[in-house]
Amino acid sequence: MSLSIRRTKALIVKEWYQIICDPSSILISIVLPIILLFLYGFGVSLDLNKVNIGMVMEDKNAQDFVQSFTGSSYFNVTFANDRRELVDPLLAGKIRGFVVVPSYFSAYRNYVQKAPIQVITDGGEPNTANFVYNYAAQTWGKWLVQEKMAGKISGLPLINVQPRYWFNEALKSRNFLVPGSLAIIMTLIGTTLTALVIAREWERGTMEALMATPVCIKEILLAKLIAYYLMAIVSMICCVIGTTLFYGIPLRGSLLVLIGITSVFLLPALGTGLLISTTTKNQLAASQAAQVVGFLPAYMLSGFIFEIGSMPKIIQMITYIIPARYFVRSLLSIFLVGNVWSLLIQDTLIMLAVGLVIFGITSRIIVKRLD
């Protein structure tokens, strides 16, 4: 049986009504994106605005050093007389580290021996620990410059390191978290929702009912894919409006290119959803499978929060076949840099290839199941 445009159109309309009438579709396509955008905009932030730290001043002569910490915009300092007082807050996560100025600090400074300042951090939070140390080092550096200007010390580092951050000068993690989260939203609609909806048709037996009508399986599936594709694009446009207007994140590339690359990404995403539903035919299993191969890789293996280069080699290999990896990269570039063609074309080709492979596998399975 060949594909009929008229029948497919009718099916798309049917799907559309089903989407509108089902509160759970609305929930996942509209409410969840809003919640996610909100959370990534406000809730998830890698920028430490004020870290709570403790300060133990065993040497009372180091007042000016302590002041550079209390005056710093990075820290919220609580004082203690003894480092034992700070162990409980550190265990409970109330403070993320503490600085100790030992009693022999001033004495050492007048000799050749180096006077130590200790920074203790909570290794239970590795990223925060790194930042506490980096911020403490910066504060210490500023203090040295002041000391030098006051004529208290002679030497200063000769080499100045001047970091400059392109595309995100203010170093707001929101600027990359929010565009990156669009990849997750698209995965949720493209993979999770599609998998659930089609699995439900199989589970309830309505798929058989549909197949008994003159429409063929390809038309049914195509109609579903088109309906969810359209929904994803609508959701994407809403998200872009929210991102640019509400969060003030720039869209330096063009909207058309963004929609183009989203469409390319939806090919493997929808394909995965279809593949999951046809192999599991059960909503519980489909939801778990979609979680494992769709949502979690998009969240954790796409390089959106976690650096791919730091993962073990085997996991790095896996990330190469995860379309979200390329989509996240493209999204970040379109939002923060502009239309970086050489990158976008490369990503498009890879996502297309992955999408075609997934569809190839799916159609073979479907044909086999029907015979």
Binding site: L91, D122, P163, W166, S173, L284, A289, I315
Partner: protein, 369 residues
């Protein structure tokens, strides 16, 4: 009464165990996730490719570049030929940073004048970029110290020493294993409870349960206990694999661990039952629990610390059981946390569990009677 509840519990466990698919769902996805994500979820930065543009012809620039090449943080160093190559290099993400050493570098240093090293970083990944900038500064500072020492240039004599407690090498999987053991247990317990009643409703067996001699209260107990049991088993499996196979440390007390896992799962089951009572179909239950789960995980302090959030949002996190559990989990795995600190985090979970369980049972009873 106890006989009937026991029969229902047995029936629940059997439904989960007999079904090949749900058995699979309970065992494999959490384990795969534990393995993959313990190692993948790292904010650490290593093995990154970087670019170097060295316009300095002198010896000093060359020495600094060699220091960078010797560093284990950078997997590959690409040498750029001119300033016009910086933008394409960064734009197409060939590397996260370009180290730019200008023509004056050696001349300035040899005449004991301050010299600059510029780092151009990709702000698209500002967190990683900051960490890379931190590494690079420490390499440059080390070079600076050695250079000044060799040339007898006076130095300041304070030093900053850092010690990372509980996790001296800042290994991410030490942080991930305890956190994931909580998150994955949450996912399983929540999905299981939210589906249990919705499935009965969808298949139509819920009416059969209602006409049985079971009272609504007994039905709720019968649905709660199996979920808690399975959640505890799940937590045990994750604990054993996390410590024995993945070699994360476990320094605290097992008793405190199980006490908090029990309270934690009970509070989650309460939420799941609530979603289940509201949902009419399995799909609604799954999606509903997902809508609860995603924010709960994100705001729990797992991915990013709670103190980074805006002040008005922070009170919301007090409603999330996972927030308390993560403190305990990291505490018992890494810090050998004392009992009184565990208690501070257990009672809020117990309170949440009490409220959710009693609300959902009230809700049920109203519907059933």
């Amino acid at each position: 009464m106890w006989k009937r509840i026991f029969a229902l519990i047995k029936k629940e466990l059997l439904t989960v165990w007999r079904d090949k698919r749900s058995r699979f769902v309970l065992i494999f996805p959490p384990l795969i996730q534990l393995f993959v994500f313990s190692f993948a979820a790292t904010l650490d930065v290593k093995n990154v490719p970087i670019g170097v543009l060295n316009l300095d012809n002198g010896e000093r620039g060359h020495e600094l570049v060699e220091r960078l090449m010797g560093s284990p943080f950078f997997s590959r160093i690409v040498f750029l030929k001119g300033q016009q190559e910086i933008a394409p290099f960064i734009n197409t993400m060939q590397g996260i940073m370009v180290v730019f050493i200008d023509q004056q570098f050696s001349r300035n240093l040899d005449t004991k004048k301050p010299a600059d090293v510029q780092l151009i970083l990709d702000g698209r990944r500002s967190n990683s970029a900051q960490i890379v900038a931190g590494y690079t500064s420490s390499i440059v500072n080390q070079y600076n110290d050695d250079f000044t020492k060799q040339n007898n240039i006076p130095q300041q004599n304070t030093t900053l020493i850092v010690r990372h407690w509980f996790n001296p090498n800042l290994l991410y999987y030490w942080f991930n294993v305890p956190s994931l053991s909580g998150i994955l247990t949450l996912v399983v317990a929540l999905i299981l409870t939210s589906l249990s009643i919705a499935r009965e409703k969808e298949i139509g067996t819920f009416e059969q349960l209602l006409v049985s001699p079971l009272t609504p209260f007994e039905i709720i107990i019968g649905k709660t206990v199996p979920a808690i049991l399975i959640g505890m088993i799940e937590a045990t499996v994750l604990l054993v694999i996390g410590t024995q196979v993945l070699h994360a440390p476990f320094r605290g007390s097992l008793f405190l661990f199980y006490a908090s896992v029990f309270v934690f799962i009970t509070s989650i089951v309460g939420v799941g039952l609530f979603a289940s009572a509201l949902a009419k179909t399995q799909q609604q239950a799954v999606l509903g629990s997902f809508v609860i789960m995603a924010p709960a995980i994100m705001l729990s302090g797992f991915a990013t610390p709670i103190e980074n959030m805006p002040y008005w949002l922070q009170p919301v996190t007090y409603l999330i059981p996972l927030r308390y559990y993560l403190v305990i989990a990291k505490g018992v795995f890494l810090k050998d946390i004392p009992a009184h600190l565990v208690w501070h985090n257990i009672w809020p979970m117990a309170l949440i569990g009490f409220v959710t369980l009693s609300t959902s049972s009230w809700f049920f009873r109203r519907r059933l009677e």
